[in-house]
């Protein structure tokens, strides 16, 4: 777990004994040191959170932005929201999509992590560099690259699918396999962003592509710590490699796995840029997850009070997971 908690190039020293600390009990230094950051954070994070909650109880709208006039409407925004089927659909969509993205990236990440432990030095370094480069790509740039890869007419992915289709057609022609032709027949003209299912596929591929490096490298750091003796013992007992992985490695990986899964859920649940830049939530709101739905409500429709209520509900739903995450960090030995 050491690798996922805090940067520690130097071994962690034990906390100063109480005797040394008590001498400074009345030291005003920590408060003086904290106050500049505390002041700024109070203004730019805590006050806004309070203001968000307040706004969710008002009818803050586009008009309010110009006039400053709004009405306190109590829980109206929330009752309207909870009766709005669009909200429930967006929530369901977010949950399912998050599950698909997390499952994809964690499973592939586990595979790559395990692969790394079995490779020779040269291949291991190559895979690591590839992971870091993919990870480093700013998500605005990769979203634009994705738009280009999946461009109808000129996108290289459509061309590849077309080529694969022709190859399958040729195979079925030559060897009499059924159903090979026509599968990807009109691939060149595929408009991914205009089809709900295909739009999800494109976004899913992008998110998984970006998420795998962090997951693979974090898990790999933990996997290299698994004691060899346990694996050897299992092998001597005649366990197959997959059993060794399941019984020994996975058991040791569990805390790290839990941490990366929770983080992935939090991040994927909050994904905005990639969806916005690829589909803008379309076609017909098919890819409008909660983040996009909130953004459209608050900044396209300028129903800010309504958007604030969605945000509060979204955040509350996330809060449980955040609590689990923080508890895990604490348990992992982070000295709070």
């Amino acid at each position: 777990m050491k690798t996922v908690t805090a940067p520690r190039d130097v071994p962690v020293a034990p906390v100063t004994p109480p005797a040394a600390r008590s001498r400074r009990r009345r030291d005003p230094a920590p408060y003086l040191l904290l106050s500049p950051a505390g002041l700024v954070l109070a203004v730019v994070t805590l006050a806004p959170i309070g203001f968000l909650v307040f706004t969710s109880f008002t009818d803050y709208s586009q008009r309010t932005l110009f006039t400053g006039v709004y009405r306190f409407v109590g829980a109206d925004q929330y009752t309207t929201l909870l009766q709005n089927p669009d909200f429930w659909v967006a929530l369901l969509r977010t949950v399912l999509f998050t599950a698909a993205m997390v499952a994809g990236s964690v499973l592939i990440g586990m595979g790559v992590s395990h692969l790394l432990t079995r490779l020779g030095r040269a291949w291991r370094n190559t895979v690591t560099v590839v992971l870091i480069v993919a990870w480093a790509m700013p998500n605005v740039a990769s979203s634009l690259v994705w738009n280009w890869l999946f461009q109808p007419g000129y996108g290289v992915v459509n061309w590849m699918l077309g080529a694969l289709g022709s190859f399958l057609a040729w195979l079925s022609e030559a060897f009499g396999f059924p159903g090979g032709s026509g599968v990807f027949g009109d691939a060149a003209g595929l408009n991914w962003a205009q089809d709900p299912v295909l739009a999800y596929v494109v976004i899913w591929l992008l998110i998984v592509w970006q998420a795998v490096p962090f997951i693979a490298l974090t898990l790999n750091a933990a996997e290299t710590q698994v004691p060899h003796e346990y694996k050897e013992a299992a092998r001597l007992d005649g366990a197959s490699e997959s059993t060794v992985y399941r019984i020994v490695t996975l058991r040791f990986l569990r805390p790290t796995l839990l941490l990366v899964t929770i983080l992935s859920v939090i991040w994927d649940y909050n994904v905005f840029n990639q969806i916005w830049l690829i589909t803008r939530g379309g076609p017909d709101d098919a890819t409008a997850t909660l983040g996009v739905y909130t953004y459209k409500t608050a900044f396209v429709g300028f129903k800010i009070g309504n958007g604030a209520a969605i945000s509060v509900v979204t955040t509350l739903l996330l809060l449980g997971l955040t609590a689990v995450y923080i508890r895990n960090l604490l348990k992992a030995g982070e000295d709070l």
């Binding site: 940067p7 040191l33 500049p36 790509m137 830049l277 953004y295 800010i304």
Partner: protein
């Protein structure tokens, strides 16, 4: 077998990046062709010229540099003091502060965006550098504190005690003993902050309505030619220019990355 899997994985995972770079160096007829060219047959820098001579490129680059620089400096200066307080002292309320710092990191971006937007609107700050910088400090400062705290924690208490025995004051210990020891960590944190602010699209897109006030990511995303459709060659060249510093910085701090990510930094 495992080498074959590694090779396939590398090919698939690097392909999007390769396709960006490859496209950036192709002349236009090679970009817009139904039969893709897997390497530029006639490599050219025209796309880079086209990208940097786009209207607003230099202005928007300048905006990015200014806003990011101020954000990095502010979050380091404020962050280093707070990190010192949270790592080298025991005082009432410390745990609460740390939990709040962690929790704020996990808020959905849109949840911070709405109140910041309305607040800045009331203060007439929308579209100004100040609004952008304040919003970036709000997102970057919590994780700067968290990451730098990790570096402070790594400094053995004995170092501090030795200075104390020599009669150094608290301030003297901080400035002459602790700060120099955590300097590498401060640089790593500065790079984290740079990446987070440099990459931001959502806040700048929402706050900066005027083209001349865009930052690079917003400029990049709005990069379309209304007459001929998107110039993908130029857009990919611009993406290379935009992504290059981030990739370089990533490679420099890669060993600290995993730690920073777990503290909620550099959100996807």
């Amino acid at each position: 077998m495992k080498n074959a899997i590694a090779a396939v994985f590398c090919l698939v995972w690097i392909f999007p990046v390769y396709w960006m770079v490859n496209t950036a160096f192709k002349p236009r007829p090679e970009v817009m062709t139904p039969e893709p060219h897997f390497w530029p047959h006639h490599p050219t820098l025209d796309n880079f010229t086209a990208a940097v001579t786009q209207p607003q490129f230099l202005t928007n680059l300048g905006n990015s540099v200014l806003v990011v620089a101020v954000t990095v400096v502010a979050s380091i200066v404020l962050g280093i003091l707070a990190a010192a307080a949270l790592s080298r002292f025991r005082f009432p309320g410390r745990r609460t502060i740390m939990v709040v710092i962690l929790a704020v990191q996990m808020l959905p971006a849109t949840a911070m965006l709405i109140p910041l937007f309305t607040m800045f609107n009331r203060l007439d700050l929308l579209g100004t550098y100040t609004a952008l910088i304040l919003a970036y400090v709000a997102t970057v400062l919590p994780f700067s504190i968290w990451v730098m705290r990790g570096f402070f924690v790594a400094v053995p208490a004995e170092v501090e005690e030795a200075a104390q025995i020599d009669g150094a004051t608290t301030w003297r210990i901080l400035v002459s003993v602790l700060f120099p020891l955590v300097a590498p960590g401060v640089i790593a944190t500065g790079i984290f902050a740079f990446i987070a602010a440099w990459n931001d699209y959502l806040i700048a897109y929402t706050f900066m309505q005027d083209e001349s006030a865009y930052t690079l990511p917003v400029w990049l995303a709005s990069f379309t030619n209304p007459h001929t459709g998107t110039d993908f060659g130029a857009q990919m060249a611009a993406s290379v220019i935009f992504a290059a510093p981030v990739v370089v910085f990533f490679l420099i701090i890669q060993r600290n990355l995993v730690a920073g990510m777990s503290a909620g930094a550099v959100k996807g």
